[in-house]
Point group: C2
Chain length 213, copies 2
C-alpha cells in the first residue's frame, strides 16, 4: 500500500516552501518564537518534521525566513505606491494605504516581524544569527526610510508640516502596525472592507482629528 | 555565620512585591512569557526561587500581576488628566500626553501588557487563568473607552472631526503604544526630554501632518 502523501509533500518545491512559511508564521504568531517548535509547525501543516528540516536547518532559520518574507511582502505592497501619480503627499498617502492593507493581508507574518524586533533587541544569538538578524532589522530601517524620504519631499513643497519627520513617521507607521494587536482576519468582510478600513486609518493619520477652521 | 540577606529579602513586604514585579516585567519583556522562568526572575533580582513562590503560586500568576500593574499604572497616569481644565479636546490632549509619558515611564510593564493581549487571543489557559485574563483584557477595553468617550465629547462640540471614533482612537493609542518597539529608556535624557517627546507625539496625532490652508 502506497504511503499517503500529506498536502505539503504533494506540491512543487516552491509551493511547499510557501506552505511551510504560512504554517510557521501562524505558529510563531500564536505561541511566540521561544515556545514554538518545528514539531508544532509540522503538525499544523500535516507533514513530518523531516520534511521541514529538508528546507530549514533550525527553528531559528525558519523564523528568520518568516521575518524576511514579512518584510518582502511589505516592500512588495509599498513599492508600487511610490510610483503613484500626484504630488509627494499623494504618494505618501498611497504608500501608507498600501502599508495598512498589507498589515491586514499578511497579518501573521507582520506579527512575527514585530517579534523579531524584540528578539533583535534582547535575544541571545550566535554570531551568524546575529548577522542575519542585523540584516533583517536593516531592511526594516530601509522600509521606514521610504516613508521618511517621502515625508521630507512632501514637507519640502509645503504639503505637510512636521517639526520632526522622524517622530511623525514613527506615529504614522506605529498607528498602522499596532493593528497586529486588534485586526482580526477571521472577522474580515473581504478586500473591499479592508480597503475602506485602510483608507479610514490613513485619513485619520494624515489629517489628524482636530477640526479645521 | 549569618546568611547574607539578598536585596529583595531585606525590604518590607510591599517594597519586596514591587521589586519582584519590576524584575519580572523586565524578564518577561526580554524573553517573553513562554521562555521566562521563575528562576530567571529570581536570578535577576538576586533572591531565591522560594522567595518569589512565597508571593506567587506560579509564573502565570506573576505574569498576570505584571499585566495588572501595567494597566494600573496607565490608569493612574491618565485619570488625573481627565480632570484637566479646558474644553473636551484639551482634556483629550492631556490624556494622550499622560499616556505617551506613561508608555516611557513604565516601558517594561507596558511591553508585557501587549504580550498579554496575544496570550489572551491564543493562549491555552485553565478556566481560572482565563477568567483572570478576561478581566485584564476588560480593563484594557475600559482604558480605550476613556479615550473614546472623550473623543465623542470633543466631536459633540465640534472640536474634532472623525467619521469613526473607534478607528480614530485605535490610531491614536496605537501610535503611542507602538513606542514599546522603538522607545529606549536607557537612551533617555530624563523627564524633560520625555515630556517634549510626548508633546510632539500627541501634536502629530491630533493635528495630523497635512498642511492647513
Amino acid at each position: 500500500m502506497a504511503r499517503q502523501k500529506s498536502r505539503g509533500e504533494a506540491m512543487d518545491p516552491q509551493a511547499r516552501k510557501v506552505e511551510i512559511l504560512n504554517s510557521a508564521a501562524r505558529c510563531f504568531m500564536e505561541k511566540g518564537y521561544h515556545a514554538t517548535s518545528i514539531d508544532d509547525v509540522a503538525r499544523a501543516l500535516g507533514c513530518t518534521k523531516g520534511f521541514i528540516y529538508h528546507y530549514y536547518a533550525s527553528k531559528t532559520d525558519l523564523f528568520f525566513d518568516v521575518h524576511r518574507e514579512g518584510m518582502d511582502r511589505l516592500f512588495a505592497a509599498v513599492m508600487p505606491a511610490t510610483q503613484a501619480v500626484g504630488g509627494p503627499l499623494a504618494v505618501l498617502i498611497a504608500m501608507l494605504t498600501a502599508h495598512a492593507r498589507a498589515m491586514m493581508d499578511h497579518h501573521a507574518f507582520e506579527t512575527v516581524v514585530a517579534q523579531g524586533v524584540q528578539i533583535h533587541r534582547f535575544g541571545a544569538t550566535t554570531p551568524d544569527q546575529r548577522r542575519t538578524l542585523d540584516e533583517l532589522i536593516a531592511s526594516r530601517d530601509r522600509f521606514e526610510d521610504l516613508f521618511k524620504d517621502q515625508a521630507h519631499a512632501a514637507r519640502a513643497v509645503g504639503q505637510i508640516v512636521a517639526d520632526d519627520i522622524s517622530i511623525a513617521v514613527k506615529m504614522m507607521l506605529g498607528a498602522l502596525q499596532w493593528s497586529i494587536f486588534w485586526y482580526r482576519p477571521e472577522a474580515d468582510d473581504g478586500p473591499d472592507a479592508r480597503d475602506r478600513l485602510a483608507a479610514r486609518m490613513v485619513t485619520t493619520i494624515i489629517d489628524g482629528v482636530r477640526a479645521r477652521n
